[in-house]
Symmetry: C2
Subunit: 348 residues, 2 copies
């Protein structure tokens, strides 16, 4: 369930922040994957978006989004679909190797925006930010092709997900801003005056105010937030805009637990370590007249199977419950829960 | 991707075993959720099945499965759908509380088979096996209703998933068989002569040969198996019948890693602790002429984001790869991967 009042407020705040910082907000739509939520972004003037698969790009292109970056390494097996989509919209793709550039060069006539993916320390994809010469070589390969326009350098500092304070995030960003300015200067001096810098991740975008030298930010999760972001310090609990409503199917007061119809196929098996090294799979909101209230102290999803969830609750909440009552759960990672439930999302 | 040769052999072996043990095989269809795989079960004479949601029950009822147990606590919010399905097929439901029985009694005229769910030590759902009087009370409530037929006692010994040898599983089962015989005798003496005992879980059903005093077994995962079952000792690697084919989208030989288009939305975020406390999210099969071969020593999915997977590979495999090549991954938990990919499953 999505509380569109909270969604609207999360989007409003991020777009105000982007304006004040003088950066483009190109939100990542992988979190919601919803045309209706996309419409709310439109109300705030958003026209450029990010997705993480060509399938999502096609989906949003069909809803008249005309400028889409696929922030996922170009998959050479999808060349035909890239061709077709590039003829319809302004399509941005990511590369980090000469082979990917060659495949695009040899197979595509349509205009394409190409971003070089830079690894800023997360060690998933990209050319390490220190390897300036490799970046330069790839930039030249892109420039030498007729149809590929080098947009700039794009990074996702996913290591911020392992932090637990705004100060830690700010330290990571400080160091990255120096490295990226340096890399940009290096490329500008070598004939790439228009190189842009694009930066991702919700923890950074939620806690920082200044993104210099980056000119574009691509947060996604902030539209809903979740327990992980709450623990990092990216949001307040009142800002969590998505919950999974699960019926109680078993009551076990002796164990201090209930079992819900809500499992790994609804919430995802994404766990989160909390105090004492315990892994939880969600928390429980207080019921409210409309939607949900604050988090229940001591209310947590202790375990998940395919369709079942075991939820620990304090006695004062447990004793009021009967079979069929709904619990509103805050997911650990709203992107994964929303992906699993995208066909069944209820907006209010 | 599903190798139907391996599937057929897994089904054949389990059905031979059930016959030799003199028990009913009522396989759990939550693993595959596929009508085509269901047809293979039919070839081996299977007519009674298990599912874990009413949605799955409706799906298989629409494919002419006429005897289905929903091995999930009856959700009182689904009473209308239960009513409608109970009019079409022999429907079995699980209860573990008087409230659930009352809702069924007051709302349903159609004949229903009711199983009392027993907690045999997994501590998810059910009345603890030791609490004989509670079981008796519930059995009488069921008997006193006109339409509800008490089928018996049903349990899922999910604790076998935490074992690592056939001996450990056998010890768990030995103790349970005594407890369930005792509970059954107790009920038989008190006017329930026809009470049946039904037992689940793939680790037990794959490693044991004798299921006395249980008269029915409900394994599900065995149709595909996976890395978790391989580590428990439920299967050999040659028996793993499902793999997720993922294109390589990034090559990082310096890190000994590749990045694939294959993430938490394809494999699920189910991890598995391997030696050294490391958590992995899948292993990698050797390529083969048709399908896949053995597991690659040292080939493992080290990390998963929404759409990306980071795969560690030994240098001799890594150096042969180029962008667009497919890796065949063995999932940690095939039930969850199959659920995520059920619309895109390719049988061969």
């Amino acid at each position: 369930m999505v509380d569109t009042g909270k969604v609207r407020e999360n989007i409003r705040k991020m777009s105000v922040k982007a304006k004040e910082a003088g950066v483009i907000l190109r939100p990542h739509f992988k979190t919601h994957q919803s045309k209706k939520i996309g419409d709310i972004f439109r109300e705030y003037g958003i026209r450029e978006i990010t997705v993480s698969s060509l399938t999502m790009a096609e989906y949003f292109a069909s809803d008249d989004w005309r400028d889409i970056t696929v922030a996922f390494p170009f998959n050479v097996r999808e060349i035909e679909r890239v061709k077709s989509l590039a003829g319809q919209i302004t399509l941005g793709l990511l590369v980090d190797s000469p082979q990917a550039v060659r495949v695009l060069k040899e197979n595509i006539k349509e205009k394409l925006k190409i971003w070089i993916k830079i690894d800023s320390g997360y060690h998933r994809c990209g050319i390490p930010v220190q390897e300036k010469d490799s970046v330069l070589t790839l930039a030249r390969e892109i420039q030498d092709s007729g149809n590929l326009a080098l947009a700039g350098l794009l990074t996702h500092a996913g290591q911020t997900y392992n932090t637990s304070s705004a100060r830690e995030i700010s330290e990571i960003f400080s160091s990255l801003s120096v490295q990226f300015q340096d890399l940009k200067d290096f490329l500008v001096e070598r004939g790439f005056p228009h190189i842009m810098l694009s930066y991702g991740d919700t923890p950074s975008c939620s806690t920082l105010k200044n993104f210099h030298p980056f000119q574009e930010i691509r947060p996604g999760n902030f539209v809903y937030y979740d327990i992980q972001q709450f623990l990092i310090g990216s949001c307040r609990e009142e800002e969590i805009a998505a919950a999974v409503a699960c019926p109680v199917v078993g009551l076990y007061p002796n164990r201090g637990e209930v079992v819900i119809y809500g499992g790994a196929v609804h919430l995802s098996k994404q766990g989160l370590a909390v105090s004492g090294g315990k892994i939880i799979y969600g928390r429980v909101f207080q019921p409210a007249e409309k939607g949900w209230g604050k988090l229940i102290e001591g209310g947590m999803v202790a375990s998940l199977s395919q369709e079942h969830g075991i939820v620990a609750l304090p006695p004062e909440y447990l004793k009021k419950l009967k079979l069929g009552d709904l619990l509103f759960l805050a997911p650990v990672h709203s992107c994964l829960a929303a992906d699993l439930l995208k066909e069944r999302t209820l907006l209010f």
